[in-house]
Symmetry: C2
């Protein structure tokens, strides 16, 4: 349980009471260590409000609108979070949100309690707030201006809000204009004094594909009938001669008591009450990406007549069960906190897209599909191919299997595997063709209950189709020359990404007995070497003529500066991003010593960026150099300590839908999936005495695998044993690992 | 059948073929005389497209958008019609329209056929047009730019469009942004390649009550599945720092193949076809003011699998039956044309509001009501209380009964009788409390199958409730002083209107045996006399101190200039608007001679306005002066000839939902309901040898009543006989009239 800032004793007592009344025994469970405030500052882009594991609905306090929140105000900059911990001006509670992404999206359907007469301008009805409490599946806060307490929990597809109002007129606003997304447009219809239905347009993620904007549908049910209700609409101001007669031109209009359908860019509803004593109202909001009817069914099936507390308890239990798949012992409370919060963050996205009846919108099609399992969405694959899916394969293989199946459904629907899929839109954000890596990695780890032949066909299509290939622009150059040239954006980065994908395809081809493809793609995966500048010992871009691009500054491109050659990074941050060919890279660089020096230089000249993915595996690369492994151990320990902390700015930057968090989870367990696609881990010192990973019997023979550490003074690993047998390297295959009983990391 | 402008032989042949193929015998039926082009110029505000009698749906060619249509362009001025006959630039066919009103409203859901690639900007896809054909229940036109023929018919709640496309790519656009209304906002969802559903916001009639804006729902079904379809949306342009990343900011986006719900101020759908030969596509659009489901049910129940021709034939037959309630013989074709077109115009509004299942939106409430009869809407009562409802009571008493019942339902729902009701919104346009007059007039004519006690209570409420009375502002002054003062708008006009209402209430009170009320209201009805200026022999405004308002120019206020004292008129145009107390007025003016002179002066100094209601009965007032009746006869004949003609500008101005047309129908029949509320007609020369009015046996004893004329040279009436007995005045009671057999107007 974590309290932010202005904790008062009353709130503590209250939340303790809630704990006990919910019947949860208070022996510190994994879910009790989660601090949802971690990552709510420093652009972590996490939010402190509740969500169920891989939930469709979530609730976030919304405090990024209004000049009071400058400089972190949503319209004044590129800001991707509905909540910033250091902001102070709250304008509601959004009911669908993205966690840890880099572009503004969702953050809509804003519920806001107020008192007194109805005010519809969020700049006027907004308030400071205090006494925030955030924990697994629960958030509460006091809204200062109105002395209203808001408490929030969710089921998978339903947000549940509970407001405690003082005596007098109280209002619950549902603002469909305000939102984090840059899309506009909503529809609303008050069904009765206890129900509202409608939709809000969202989309254009990362300012792309506005034509793919789509609706999120909702149904809201109130526990008490409103004494008065209505809809407001602020139309856009009309110009021209005729407008002179419109005294109401561009002004907000109050449509009291209406049950008609209302549409507009800036609309909302109010439900008003007259209370003669302190009273609570609960609001359940079911959402769906298919239809209002499905939103209503989601609401009924998941929450029906359940109380707030009952929903909270169920979701808490679901989280606790999920988080208990990895039990850690013998570490500080702080370390347990950052560990379980990170694990929590890896279980938010990809999230559920289908309704309780199985329906979901197919990708890029007008059709509604039906799944029998779970249709997942929010595949930020350029991020997550590096470690998150590997973590899922290990500890949550059923989920990972369904994620792969979802990706194959997208291929069926759309003709292509996903790249950066978001609520069945393909945003085409970032570069590369990462789905192949995720699928190969999953298959090679023994999670094979999907149509691998189809998956392989899909990979080949992405890898080989030169014309009209949305996944691999520049593929012709890549195949013919081995690299993209400067006529494409980020040609070096993209070449490296294609290499990584091709390597995974080669591994899968080999496993499937397709020897020719295996060799072809293995060969393709090494083409980055043509971009290696021996003088600089770095990769650098070539022009269409094959010449080095000039001028070339290896440092340019850090901190998201645009540069020729690289996407979100510079030559230093990409130099070692060939995890499948580190041995080849060592040769290119002139041997182990030169490689190790060059790698060390990245850190020495402060070009290592913990906050972005291309160099995320660098700290582990010293494991490839015999005798230098201690550098990895020290680096990982140092980076964890520096960047991952139990406080709002306790993530190095965007969580990238859990990728940063997955890095932390692995790093604290003492293993890391060093080469995506390769079923292999590299080893460092665990940060707990004992880590027990439950294995899913559907996919694994053993019930669990344990990682233990034996600590000494200098902190360097002296020996690694699997079930008592010494390993002669800092690497272990996935098979050996999951078929073992105990991996022991000995520093004595 | 009427052809506009650029008639070509082919079109004639085609439409003749249509007539025969529809199996209509071509002995000139009443419906064949209707020329829907009448009133489509000179601000008549009629449209030439099809509508069923009192239909909810109608189709109008829409040619008031775009600079090509200046000066009669909708946004450049106050323009209340979807179509202007002299305009040339067509941008679609609107599916709901008002006829003959003075404010822009409806004119939305614009269907437009195009060819070639899809263009969504109406200024670019618009076209000139030719070969217009307009007749009862049918309109057709050639859209020049695309060489597409459009044909249109309707059932009560469904518009049916038939497009004949040339070979190649053809498109049917459904534009939900463009419209005559000043409201904006729409929702659309493509259901399949043959169906679209959605809604369009309309309202704010006469720039009033924007908060009462409401949706018109629709379902569109296409006879052929589209090869491609999609939705376009042009969002409003966002401002601010963040908008710099939105390369698509404010630009139209094409959402191909989408079946998601889309909302916005400027949206539409396209359905595209690839034809390898000339092909037709029929589009049926069902509408509803209740829900999309009801729109769909309306469509299915009314038109189901019927062909365009079948729907046309049914609606034609319904019109012919309705128009045949009054059969005219022995007149010119031109006179029959203007007569039946006028009668047609009186059968458009009030129109049907309820869906086929009986549901309709209750007035000013969020509720959905259900009617077993017909719920009517569009009560422009300030206009229609003067003659239109009297015509309904005579020839369509069942409709008039349902109109009264609808008004009483509004009282039940809203607490007040209607004033200017439009699609269950009270627009409060104009002044006075005219519902009482309509109801009393109906009851006193023997149409009594409604709850007259409730009606009476409703009238009293409007007449007596001083505080918060939306119908009669200024009532306190009116009751205390006998008149409104200049602190209210149009105090003289309003006093006169209240007098007229009070007179009707007194008549009903008398009939109901409420003697005290009878005397009280009769007395109240004469209070206009306090505003009579003996020097000017005119009514003029008084200030709050009771003094004449200065300066006073009796001529000021003509042509809709604003003036102190009068609404839509000046002192001359209101001086005689006390039809219930003409004898009193004669006294005030100093006797018959002075009265007659003053009345003549109105015409002599050209202050008579044929285009507006206050003085609409003036031409008949000479009938009150013995010996001067010939002046009425000549005036009426002259005015008909001058203002009512078989051409687009053949109405004197706004038809005012049929009021001008009702004046013409009565005037051509030779009788006129001179004093609203009084069941009495005054008599002039009929313009046909024989007029046979069918009487509804549910309300009348006789099957029909005949009016005959015997013509002489000087055109003056010498004698009037009812069933052979000479009348000794130019007035006849409704009872005497309908219980007679033949009213003979003899000029010999």
């Amino acid at each position: 349980m974590f309290l932010n800032n202005r904790l008062i004793i009353l709130a503590t007592l209250f939340s303790l009471m809630l704990f006990f009344s919910a019947g949860i025994t208070h022996a510190q469970q994994p879910a009790d260590f989660v601090n949802p405030f971690i990552g709510t500052s420093n652009y972590g882009a996490a939010y402190p409000g509740p969500i169920a594991p891989r939930g469709m609905a979530s609730i976030s306090p919304f405090n990024v609108a209004g000049p009071q929140n400058l400089p972190l105000e949503k319209d004044s900059r590129w800001l991707s979070n509905p909540y910033v911990n250091e902001n102070t001006f709250l304008t509601g509670f959004s009911q669908v949100n993205l966690s840890g992404v880099g572009c503004p999206e969702l953050g809509v359907i804003l519920l806001m309690p107020t008192t007194g007469s109805v005010e519809t301008n969020h700049l006027k009805y907004g308030s400071t707030y205090s006494d925030e409490v955030a924990k697994t599946a629960y958030y509460s806060v006091n809204i200062d201006k109105y002395n209203v307490q808001g408490e929030f929990t969710t089921s998978k597809r339903v947000g549940v809000s509970k407001f405690t109002f003082p005596k007098g007129q109280s209002n619950i606003l549902l603002n469909l204009g305000l939102g984090l997304t840059n899309e506009e447009g909503a529809m609303v219809k008050v069904v009765s004094s206890t129900e509202i239905e409608g939709m809000r347009s969202v989309g254009s993620f990362c300012y792309n594909s506005p034509e793919a904007a789509y609706p999120v549908y909702f149904v809201a049910k109130f526990s008490k009938p409103a004494a008065k209700f209505g809809v407001w609409k602020k139309p856009s101001k009309q110009e021209g001669v005729e407008a002179q007669w419109m005294t109401y031109n561009g002004k907000t209009r109050m449509m009291d008591n209406t049950t008609k359908m209302v549409v507009g860019d800036s609309i909302g509803t109010y439900f008003s009450y007259e209370f003669d004593k302190t009273e609570t109202v609960e609001v359940k909001i079911g959402v769906s990406y298919v239809s209002i009817e499905n939103a209503r069914e989601n609401l009924e099936k998941e929450t029906g007549n359940k109380t707030f507390d009952a929903v909270y308890k169920e979701t808490y239990n679901e989280w606790n069960e999920a988080l208990s798949k990895i039990l850690v012992e013998g570490g500080s409370k702080e370390n347990k906190t950052i560990f379980y919060t990170a694990l929590y963050h890896t279980l938010i996205h990809p999230n559920t897209l289908n309704d309780v009846n199985g329906e979901y919108p197919e990708i890029k099609r007008g059709k509604i599909g039906t799944t029998k399992g779970t249709r997942y969405t929010v595949f930020s694959l350029w991020d997550t191919y590096r470690n998150l899916h590997q973590l899922m394969s290990l500890a949550y293989p059923q989920q990972q299997s369904n994620m792969v199946k979802s990706m194959l459904e997208m291929y069926d629907e759309n003709g292509w595997l996903p790249k950066w899929e978001l609520n069945s839109t393909e945003t085409f954000t970032m570069v590369g063709d990462p789905a192949s890596i995720v699928i190969a990695d999953t298959y090679l780890k023994g999670i094979q209950d999907f149509d691998v032949q189809k998956a392989y066909r899909a990979m080949l299509k992405g890898a080989d189709q030169i014309e009209n290939n949305p996944l691999r622009p520049g593929l012709k150059d890549y195949i013919e020359k081995g690299f993209l040239t400067t006529k494409n954006g980020g040609p070096v980065s993209t070449t490296q990404e294609y290499n990584a994908s091709d390597y995974s395809i080669s591994l899968l081809a080999k496993a499937l007995g397709k020897k020719e493809d295996y060799l072809r793609f293995k060969n393709r995966s090494l083409s980055y070497r043509k971009l290696f500048d021996k003088d600089l010992k770095l990769l650098r871009p070539r022009t269409v003529n094959g010449k080095w691009y000039e001028p070339f500054d290896p440092v340019s491109g850090a901190n998201f500066e645009e540069n020729v050659g690289f996407i979100e990074g510079n030559a230093w941050q990409y130099a070692f991003m060939v995890p499948h060919d580190i041995k080849g890279l060592i040769k290119l660089m002139g041997g182990e010593k030169a490689f190790s020096n060059q790698l060390q230089k990245v850190f020495d000249i402060k070009q290592f960026d913990m906050a972005n993915e291309p160099d995320i595996a660098y700290p582990y690369l010293f494991n490839y150099i015999k005798g230098d492994e201690w550098k990895s151990q020290e680096l990982v320990k140092k980076l964890v300590k520096e960047y991952f902390q139990n406080k709002p700015n306790g993530l190095p930057g965007n969580d990238d839908t859990g990728t940063m968090s997955a890095w932390l989870v692995y790093s604290m367990m003492g293993i890391y999936p060093i080469s995506p696609g390769d079923p292999i881990y590299t080893i460092t010192t665990p940060m707990f005495d004992k880590v027990t990973i439950q294995l899913d019997p559907k996919y694994y023979k053993k019930k669990s695998i344990v990682i233990e550490r034996e600590v000494n003074n200098d902190g360097k690993i002296k020996q690694i044993q699997l079930d008592g047998k010494t390993l002669n390297s800092y690497f272990i295959s996935h098979d050996d690992f999951v078929n073992g009983t105990t991996l022991k990391v000995i520093q004595n």
